[in-house]
Amino acid sequence: MALTSTTLTFRKLLIIVFVLANNYVFAQTYLQAQYNYATQLYNDEQYFDAITEFKRFQFFDSLNQYSYFTNKSIAMSYKQGGKFDEAIYYYSLAELNTPNIDSLFNTKIEIIKTNLLRRTIYRAFDLLNDLNNDERFNSKKDQITYWKGWAYIFNNEWEKASEEFAKVDINNQLKQICANVAESQYSESTAKILSYILPGAGQFYTGNYISGILSFSWVALWTYIAVEAFLADRIFDGLLVTNFLVFRFYNGNIQNAENFANEYNSEISNWTLNYLQHNYRGPKP
C-alpha cells in the first residue's frame, strides 16, 4: 500500500509528540526525584544541604508550580538551624502562594511561632491581632487564642496566659501551669511599696533576710546621725549626711527589693519554660 504524504506527516507528528510527551514525563520524574532527595536530607537533619537542594528544585521548577512547598521547606530548615530571620522571610514568601485558606492560616501561625522563638514578642502580638480581625479565619478563633496564650508565656505574663488558655478549654493543662506560676511569683510592686514604707521590709518579703537587716540598720544609723545633727543645729552636716548617706541607702533598699523580686520570678519562669520545652506534648513553638 502506498503511503500518502499526509499519512507520513501524520506519523512523523505522532512520533514527535510521543517523544515530547515522554520528555515531559521524564522532566516531572526528575523534579519529583529532586524533591524526594531534598526531603530526605531534611529528615536526616542535614538542614544546610537540604536548603541547597530545595533551592535547586526551585531554580529548575521553571513554571513555579511548587513555590509554596519549596519556600515552606526552606523556612522549616532555617528554623531548625536557629536562623529565625531567614525562616520568617521564607515563610512570608510561602504565604504569597498558598493553595488554600487552611495552609495560609498555618503559614501565618508558623510565622508567629518563629517570632516567639526569636523573642520579638510584640511582633507576634501584632500578627495575632491581625489574625483575630481577619474575617477569613473566624472559624479558627480557638487556635488563635491558644497561640496568644503562648505569646503571653514568652512575654512573662503568666496570669494573662492562664486566662487565654482557660478560654480555649477550662481544664487545660497549660492553664493550670500558668496559674501556678502566676501564684508563686512575687509581686514587684508589693516589694517596692513595702520597701518605701519600711527599709528592709521589701527584702524580707522576697526572702533575703540578711540584706533586709543590713539595709534597715544602715538607714536607721544614718537617719539617727542626721537627726542628731539637725537637733544640734549643725544644719550643713545634717544636710550632707542626709543627702549622701540616708538617701543613698534608702534608694538602694528599694532597688534591691525590686531586683530580688525579679530574680526570683525569672528563676521560676525559666524553670517552667524549660519544663514546657522538654515535657509538654501539645503544640508549641
Binding site: Q80, G82, D85, W218, R248, F249, Q277
Partner: protein, 151 residues
C-alpha cells in the same frame, strides 16, 4: 499591598540573608529560656599572693556590707570598686591608686558622657582598665556610640 512589601523586602534583603549561609551551620538546639545578663559579684577571698588575697578580701567585705545595699550608683561598667581591684591587679598599688583617682574624677563629671564612652547594655558606659595602663598596645579604642553586650 502585602505583595509589594514582601517583594521590597526581597530586593533589599536577599543579599543580606545569604550572608548567614557563608559558613556552614548545623542543627541548633531551640531554647525557650531567656538570659538575664545580670552579672554576679565574685566574692572570693583567695588570690595568688598575700597582697592580692588581702585586696580581694577587703573588696568582698566592702561589697557585702556597703556596696550591695546602696544600689547601683556607678554609671560605668566595671564599677569603680571593681575598677580599682582590677587596676591594682594589672599594674601595682601606687599606679592603681592613681588610675582610681582619675576614674573618680571622670565619675564626678556628669556632662557629655554619651559622646565619649561606648555603651554597655542599656544603662552603663564601658570603661575598662586596659585603656589606662599607659601601655599603648593594650589600648583598643571603641567609638562613643558602640553597644557592647557582654565582656
Amino acid at each position: 499591598m502585602k505583595i509589594f512589601f514582601v517583594l521590597f523586602l526581597f530586593f533589599c534583603f536577599s543579599n543580606a540573608y545569604s550572608q548567614t549561609d557563608w559558613v556552614k551551620w548545623e542543627k541548633a538546639e531551640l531554647i525557650y529560656l531567656e538570659d538575664n545578663g545580670q552579672l554576679k559579684r565574685d566574692y572570693s577571698i583567695s588570690g595568688e599572693s598575700l597582697s592580692e588575697a588581702t585586696l580581694n578580701s577587703l573588696a568582698s567585705v566592702y561589697w557585702f556590707f556597703i556596696s550591695d545595699l546602696d544600689g547601683d550608683n556607678c554609671p560605668f561598667k566595671p564599677s569603680c570598686s571593681n575598677f580599682f581591684v582590677e587596676a591594682v591587679k594589672e599594674t601595682n598599688l601606687p599606679q592603681g591608686v592613681l588610675i582610681f583617682f582619675d576614674r573618680f574624677t571622670r565619675d564626678l563629671n556628669i556632662f557629655s558622657r554619651a559622646n565619649k564612652y561606648p555603651r554597655f547594655g542599656a544603662k552603663y558606659y564601658y570603661d575598662p582598665v586596659s585603656l589606662y595602663t599607659l601601655i599603648e598596645d593594650k589600648i583598643h579604642y571603641l567609638p562613643p556610640n558602640t553597644f557592647i553586650k557582654s565582656e
